[in-house]
Amino acid sequence: MRRAFLGEFEEIILLVVAACPTEAYGVNVWEDVQQQTGRAITMSAVHTTLYRLEEKGYLSSVLGGATAERGGRRKRFFTLTALGVRALQDIQAVRDRLWHAIPQDKFQLIVG
């Protein structure tokens, strides 16, 4: 299998969806991303990324859960696919390997 390539923001979104305790859809993903990163992010950026990830096969979605404040429109709930899970794990593995490769005292030397 081809190595997954994920951008930083895509990775964050994917992680947020994975971490979401309830079903993840546009609004709560957006809120979580802002909360977790402390950055101001537009809704359209979140939407774009979610759909891109779905197109790439990391996420899948179903429609459902219409509420009154949405004007009766359904939400699109995103869940991680197996591919998405593996991509996150791959990235995590790479990072772990690299973290372990850092000599023990190096950070202390730099930070002082």
Partner: protein, 896 residues
């Protein structure tokens, strides 16, 4: 989100901004819209409670705007999931192919109908195009000059002392041009232009050539390109000449004629000799739509003496054109011109009043150069050619519109009628999922396709008949004339309109019907169709109007050409010889009469003279002044009613006696005409006594009323031509003798002859043209109407196939069925007469008012027109009805 304090409710302040919401709905791709919009609304509601409506609304707008990126706007390519079906657009190539196949199949299935439909429309269009070409040519007359907006002709009007316009004059004399140009700064330059006839050597022959004389500025004022020679100097030297390409070819066999010489004899009389003129320029052939058309052009030579003689203000015989400076005020220029005239011509005006008791006031005015061609009271004459009656163009345009209207009506009518039969197709198409838009596109497209075919065919037709048409109309039109922005626009509009009207019914009305209706009810749409019926009435009204017009014009023409003119013009040859002296006339007669084929010779003045004299002591009478010879009246068999003819037995006749015609007597109010004096008061002592009264005869043709006429044999008046009566059926022998004699006696004069009766026929060329045009229009209109009627009859017969089958089974005869099918249409044709006859009667009466001698409109004209229309309509309809009536009922009833 649930928040008890501020529940969301649809309020203008607490609702998301509608425009932004709409924008999103419109822009965002459908597959993303629902959840994106939902998310935005959810956030908006949340923010409403957190930050208040104003900020929330602002944020909503911003969020929407952020969503207007290509990612959201781009529509998703439909990836069909199982259970989903494509809904292709109505312009999908497969569907287009289907439409074209069906269209062609429908055409091929009904060949007669298709041919009628397309050919009918294209004939109508072609006729309209031809006529538009013609009228456009008329309107484009003289417009090719670069200076056109600033070009004018000097004209004048005579005002009576009461200020009433008595006479308008398009011609001027030698003085007007130069005098006005010298003192009115706005007049940039002037050109005097006049026509002469001079003898010219052409090889060894001598021909009488029309020569035009103009000022040096001619080529700078007008746009007549020279092939060789300098336009500035070409007309500067007195003995120079500019000739046309054609004349150069005739004279020298090459257009490279610069510097060569041509011999002309300018002065009249026999003593003058030919003089050489040097070709200073060869001009491109003048366009046919030009009032100025010259083959030979010479510089105008005016002596200083002529220019200083103020009497020349009233000596009017030529056209003067002026070129104004840009932006000149016309009224101001005219006012200045009149000022100059009053100052400069003061002495001449006084002299005119004294000598001729000419008391009218003359005012000068300017006529736009391009207005001359179609002007009726200020005509293009005296060297200007082609003057035309705008009525021609109007009536032609009228006919063109008639024909076009009928053709379009037919096209629409037939297409609509045909489409009724296709209701079933529309039903089936709807059942298998066609939308209304799709049907509209299909049927409109089909009618546009047909229309397009007709247009192309029309262009081909125009190209084919153009040579014949040019011959008939005496024009040189080309199809390229049609490619004018406005005309093309007009045609495109016509195309769209016709296509739209024809396709409108099936495309917009039938396609709206519920498929169940059209499929189940077996087309109940064929009821009384008032639209179609009234269209038939209109067509036949137009056709019978034109038939009546044609018949009337034919009989008026016939009347004009066959009515007894009051004199005998059979076997009379007219020859011209300028300055024919009494001695020469006698010599000519003696020599000609040596041949037994020559019955008589009567000399007469050339052209037509008119003058004025006083009768009853003071009354002035204007009359035609004929200088004749005692043999003139007997030769033409013009009877003398009272008194006697001139006679050699009364030698004093030539100086004392005149003859007058009956009209003269009537106008003078004489009871006893014989012995009455006629006073030519402006020539001292010239007084005559009437010795005879001549019966009125149409010396000017029938389009003019007979006016007063006076005959004299005064020796001071020169003859200009001679009438020679020959024995019947000896034309060629006599003509040979006449020509030989003439050439022997007058070797240096050009010889030309004509038959008087043929000349008389030529007067009615305009009427002959009308006749042709009306006949052409009537035939086309009838033809196109018939095409339409035939199509409708076919459709009606088809529609009633089953009915006729049943009728036949129950015992109806062929005759009764033909009657059944034809009577409907014939009724409509009869109805059309009710409209057409009064209109035609009125129009023809108006037209005939133009002729002082005219026919009465006879009832027979209407009877014939009615019979003709009925006969043609019946023949057209019965062709189809007989066929239907003869069909075996088994065939029509068998199939369901």
């Amino acid at each position: 989100m649930t928040n008890g304090t501020n529940p969301p409710h649809p309020n203008r302040r607490t609702a998301a901004p509608q425009w932004a919401d709409r924008l999103l709905t419109w822009c965002c791709a459908p597959h993303l819209l629902e959840d994106v919009q939902g998310d935005l609304h959810e956030v908006f509601q949340k923010r409403l409670t957190q930050v208040g409506p104003a900020k929330a609304r602002r944020e909503f707008v911003v969020a929407v705007l952020y969503h207007l990126t290509p990612f959201f706007v781009r529509r998703k390519k439909t990836v069909l999931r199982p259970g989903q079906y494509p809904s292709p657009s109505s312009l999908n190539p497969d569907m287009l192919r289907n439409y074209i196949t069906i269209a062609l199949r429908t055409l091929a299935h009904n060949k007669a109908y298709s041919v009628i439909n397309i050919v009918g429309l294209s004939i109508g269009l072609a006729a309209a195009m031809l006529i538009i070409l013609y009228t456009k040519d008329e309107v484009s007359y003289d417009r090719f000059h670069a200076n056109v907006p600033r070009l004018y002709r000097i004209t004048s009007r005579e005002l009576s002392s009461a200020g009433k316009v008595e006479n308008r004059q398009g011609n001027t004399g030698l003085l007007q041009g130069p005098k006005f140009a010298a003192s009115v700064p706005e007049i940039q330059s002037f050109v005097r232009y006049k026509e002469d006839r001079h003898d010219m050597k052409l090889g060894t022959d001598i021909v009488s050539q029309t020569v035009f004389v103009a000022d040096t500025s001619f080529f700078s004022v007008f746009t007549f390109p020279l092939l060789s020679g300098n336009p500035r100097t070409a007309l500067q030297q007195p003995h120079s000449v500019v000739i046309s390409e054609e004349m150069a070819m005739k004279q020298f066999g090459t257009i490279d004629a610069l510097g060569k010489t041509i011999s002309f004899k300018l002065a009249f009389g026999n003593g003058e000799a030919f003089e050489p003129y040097t070709v200073m320029g060869v001009a491109q052939q003048t366009p046919l739509n030009s009032s100025i058309r010259f083959d030979v052009l010479m510089p105008m030579v005016v002596t200083a003496q002529e220019m200083t003689n103020p009497e020349n203000w009233f000596n009017i015989f030529e056209n003067t054109f002026v070129l104004l400076t840009p932006g000149a005020n016309l009224q101001a220029v005219e006012a200045k011109m009149n000022q100059i005239y009053r100052a400069d011509a003061a002495s001449a005006i006084k002299m005119m009043a004294e000598k001729f008791s000419f008391k009218s006031k003359v005012e000068y005015a300017l006529q736009p150069f391009t207005a001359m061609h179609l002007s009726q009271d200020l005509r293009a004459d005296n060297g200007l050619v082609g003057g035309s009656n705008p009525l021609f163009s109007y009536i032609l345009t009228g006919i063109a519109l008639f024909i076009l209207l009928i053709a379009c009506i037919n096209f629409v009518n037939l297409t609509v009628a045909r489409s009724l039969k296709r209701a079933k197709e529309i039903g089936v198409r709807k059942v298998v999922g066609s939308g209304q838009l799709q049907l509209t596109v299909q049927f409109l497209g089909e009618s546009f396709l047909l229309c397009f075919g007709a247009f192309v065919l029309a262009l081909v037709l125009v190209q084919l008949v153009l040579p014949t048409f040019n011959l008939l109309a005496n024009k040189s039109l080309a199809l390229a004339y049609l490619f004018d922005a406005r005309l093309v626009l007009g045609y495109v509009a016509l195309f769209l309109l016709t296509g739209l009207l024809a396709g409108f019914y099936p495309a917009l009305v039938l396609s709206r019907y519920n498929p169940v209706q059209t499929l189940y009810n077996r087309v109940s749409l064929s009821g009384k169709n008032y639209l179609q019926q009234s269209l038939v009435v209109v067509q036949f009204a137009l056709a019978s109007f034109l038939v009546i017009a044609t018949l009337t014009i034919y009989s008026q023409f016939n009347y004009l050409t066959t009515k007894n003119l009051g004199y005998d013009d059979k076997d009379v040859v007219s020859i011209e010889k300028s300055g024919l002296t009494r001695r020469e006339a006698k010599l000519l007669r003696d020599e000609l009469l040596k041949n037994p084929n020559i019955v008589g010779v009567a000399p007469k003045n050339g052209g037509q003279w008119g003058t004025v004299a006083k009768v009853n002591g003071g009354t002035e009478i204007n009359f035609t002044y004929e200088t004749i010879d005692p043999t003139y009246l007997p030769l033409l068999k013009i009877p003398v009613r009272q008194g006697r003819n001139f006679s050699p037995d009364f030698p004093a006749d030539s100086t004392q006696s005149v003859l007058v015609n009956e009209r003269f007597v009537k106008q003078a109010g004489w009871k006893n005409p014989i012995g009455q004096p006629v006073d030519f008061w402006y020539n001292k002592g010239e007084k005559y006594t009437v010795v005879g009264v001549v019966k009125d005869h149409h010396f000017n043709g029938l389009s003019q009323e007979i006016g007063p006429q006076l005959f004299t044999t005064k020796p001071g008046n020169q003859y200009g031509k001679a009438f020679i009566k020959i024995r019947p059926n000896t034309a060629s022998a006599s003509l040979q003798h006449i020509e030989r004699t003439f050439k022997r006696l007058f070797p240096i004069n050009p010889y030309a002859f004509s038959f008087v009766d043929e000349d008389n026929l030529k007067r009615y060329e305009a009427e002959a043209k009308w006749k042709q045009i009306m006949l052409f229009g009537a035939i086309l209109t009838i033809f196109i109407s018939c095409i339409g009627l035939f199509g409708l009859a076919t459709l009606s017969a088809e529609r009633r196939t089953k009915e006729i089958g049943i009728r036949k089974v129950l015992g109806a005869s062929v005759t009764s069925i033909i009657q059944l099918l034809s009577s409907d249409f014939l009724k409509l044709v009869v109805l059309s007469f009710v409209v057409a006859f009064p209109a035609a009667w009125y129009a023809m009466r108006q037209w005939l008012q133009n002729y002082p001698y005219r026919i009465d409109i006879s009832v027979w004209t209407f009877v014939i027109a009615a019979l003709l229309a009925l006969l043609i309509a019946f023949a057209t309809v019965s062709f189809q009805s007989i066929r239907t009536a003869l069909t075996n009922p088994i065939r029509s009833l068998r199939s369901e």
